[in-house]
Subunit: 412 residues, 2 copies
């Protein structure tokens, strides 16, 4: 008998039929003797409908009232799910964020959880009830309704699991786990049984949209075992957990992430003097353009080349800023490219294995793919290549690191 927190997203509760299916699933866990706390999102489409109403009236809408408005979405779902559970002879009780008391700061529309009162939930679990909690929302110290920002229901699930010291936090989605890479690109992409929090963070931030980054960070910080599962298909999913040194040796590379959302900008012939990086990136950041990779090549003489990537939507904006900055700095030229893609290999195993990078570069060279930019972290190596080579690169790397072979330690 375990204590399990389960989170079902908007698609999983998008219709009355799906809410019934979720109730059926939860009932199964109860019958096996588990205590279950369920966190749900708004029915899919509902949050957008509410935001639409708000935008018809006020743009941008008052943040406090926006939270009052959109928090109704999850409130509808918790009530309906409890009805579906009660109908099945499975006693259930719903809680809004305020009723639980999920205490947050007062940053409306992007609040952070400060504390969770677990008294009511524990009392209900003890009484044999399923507890159904509205995701994505909380309450500040003044009693104002707050929301954690979109996708925050994952965070609610993890935070509840941490507060209740749950045995597992299960995130139900429309995929059956975390894959070594996108199965739409690589046929032999394989569901991983396990992945570490650090790897998952790198995978998530690199475009594997299975889990919200904040939820993964939170789970890692509080050591909450996190499992990604399919809402309506049976299977073990993928367990995201802390690195276990006692376990069998892990593969060097766990997965391959990629995205096509970036664009690359280079200022050529920048005077190689201190402070030049901040004089280039300062104005970019002031314009609210987020920068991802940053690479500065050592110059041959008194100049250097400075390259960074931004979201493709910000490409024009960033280019204009750079033209101005470049002139001020006396740089030679600004060049850019928005037909690029980023490919990253991720794995905690690379920490202790030499040669991972060269194996990656060799694999790409074997397919005649030119590397435009390289950036590395302790458990990740990212390269920028021409967008047209993306699929070729991912498939080649997936094969080179033998990711299609489960539980085999790759040779680096």
């Amino acid at each position: 008998m375990a204590l399990i927190v389960q989170k079902y997203g908007g698609t999983s509760v998008g219709t009355v039929e799906r809410i019934e299916a979720v109730a059926e699933k939860v009932k199964g866990f109860r019958e096996r003797g588990d205590d279950v706390v369920v966190v749900v999102s708004a029915m899919s489409g509902e949050t957008n409908r509410l935001i639409g109403l708000a935008q018809e009236i006020q743009s941008p809408p008052t943040a406090r009232e926006m939270d009052v408005l959109v928090s109704t979405g999850e409130q509808v779902t918790i009530a309906l799910l409890c009805m579906a559970l009660n109908k099945r002879g499975c006693p259930a009780r719903s809680y809004t964020g305020s009723q639980v008391r999920i205490l947050t700061d007062d940053a409306h529309t992007k609040a952070r959880i400060r504390d969770i009162d677990d008294e009511n939930i524990r009392r209900d679990l003890k009484a044999g009830r399923v507890v159904v909690v509205a995701g994505f929302q909380g309450v500040d110290e003044e009693g104002n309704i707050t929301t954690l920002g979109r996708g925050g229901s994952d965070t609610t699930g993890v935070a509840l699991a941490a507060a209740l010291k749950a045995d597992e936090c299960q995130i139900y989605t429309d995929v059956d786990g975390v894959y070594t890479t996108d199965p739409r690109v690589v046929d032999s992409a394989r569901r991983m049984d396990r992945i570490t929090f650090e790897e998952m963070l790198e995978m998530a931030s690199l475009g594997s949209k299975v889990l919200q980054i904040r939820a993964v960070e939170f789970a890692g910080k509080y050591k909450v075992p996190l499992r990604v599962l399919h809402s309506f298909q049976d299977g073990p999913g993928t367990l995201i957990t802390i690195e276990d040194d006692s376990a069998v040796e892990r593969p060097v590379i766990s997965g391959i992430a990629f995205n096509r959302d970036e664009a690359k900008l280079t200022v050529l012939g920048v005077p190689d003097i201190p402070g030049v990086a901040s004089r280039i990136l300062g104005p970019v950041s002031e314009a609210n353009v987020e920068v991802d990779m940053i690479v500065q090549n050592i110059g041959d003489d008194q100049t250097t080349d400075f390259t960074f990537t931004v979201h493709r939507n910000d490409y024009e904006k960033a280019s204009e800023i750079l033209q101005r900055v470049s002139a001020e700095l006396g740089a030679k030229e600004v060049v850019g490219n928005n037909k690029i893609a980023k490919v990253s290999i991720v794995g905690v195993g690379m920490r202790s294995h030499a040669g991972v990078a060269s194996k990656m570069f060799t694999a790409l060279a074997d397919d005649s793919i030119n590397i435009q930019l390289i950036s590395t972290s302790e458990i990740k190596i990212s390269v920028i290549i021409a967008e047209k080579y993306l699929e070729l690169a991912v498939r080649g790397l997936h094969s080179a690191f033998e990711l299609d072979q489960a539980d085999v330690v790759s040779e680096a």
Copy 2:
């Protein structure tokens, strides 16, 4: 400068455009220097949509969860109205029933208000804010969301006005006041400037659906001046207030109410022995059939005739029960009629004026309308007539009591 509580129903806030119009109206009061607390219902159609979702899942739905579900309707409206006010430079803050704290008992879906904490509202009013409160909902001592039952937003408005000792509680509707009778039946029906709580109660319970009976009772009990106004047309509306003896003499009759929703049942030849009324009505009430008028004629010999009216929808059910009861009692026969209508004249003035009844009966006789049943209270006389004579009767009485002539004391 007055403190005004305004209540807008579902139709008045049924679209984004109408919410904007309400905001414009509220802003006008603020500009005249009034403090305003606004109570709103769910956007029209929303409550039914939510009930529909619930009924797809569970029938009847768990009452506690039903309240969690439907209370979201008003929560959406308070947020949108605050946005519309804020946009107009009119600072506003929304409150759910739980946030105000409108404390109720725990009778889910039909809770009654026990206490209202006015601290937050007073603080906001003092800070120059409009306070927007979700109608129809509250919270019990355990923190569970409760609702006051459908139409309960009027009650919320009146209860808030009482708690805040407001100068007036304004109920905005789709009519511009309370009329002497239904203008669709009598062309010369006239909006009343004033009506007493007692008269309004009789008018309301007799089918003038302008206000919820509970709200009028509440307003009368706490002496809250209540005004019925049109949401989108200017005008003084009708003030519902306590009787003011010092004022000019009131007309004998204030208005004429009627309804076609009733059916009449008579048990003929009932043995005239003690306890017979309860033996007839007991089984009817046990079947959850509500009885309106009850008349027992004094019998000539050892038998009596017992007549009562029920809602037309309950006619068949009540007939079947009576057939059974009649046999047990050894009564002669059960007869019934569901093509009847009830017409009532209402007025506090009739207390001190003799001859009102005979004037009513004379007016009906002049139109050759046969009276099937008569029932009286201190400020009301109701008759049952054949449904086909309804319009004729109402028009005749409206003219006989000179209701088309404002502020003229009728001679009884």
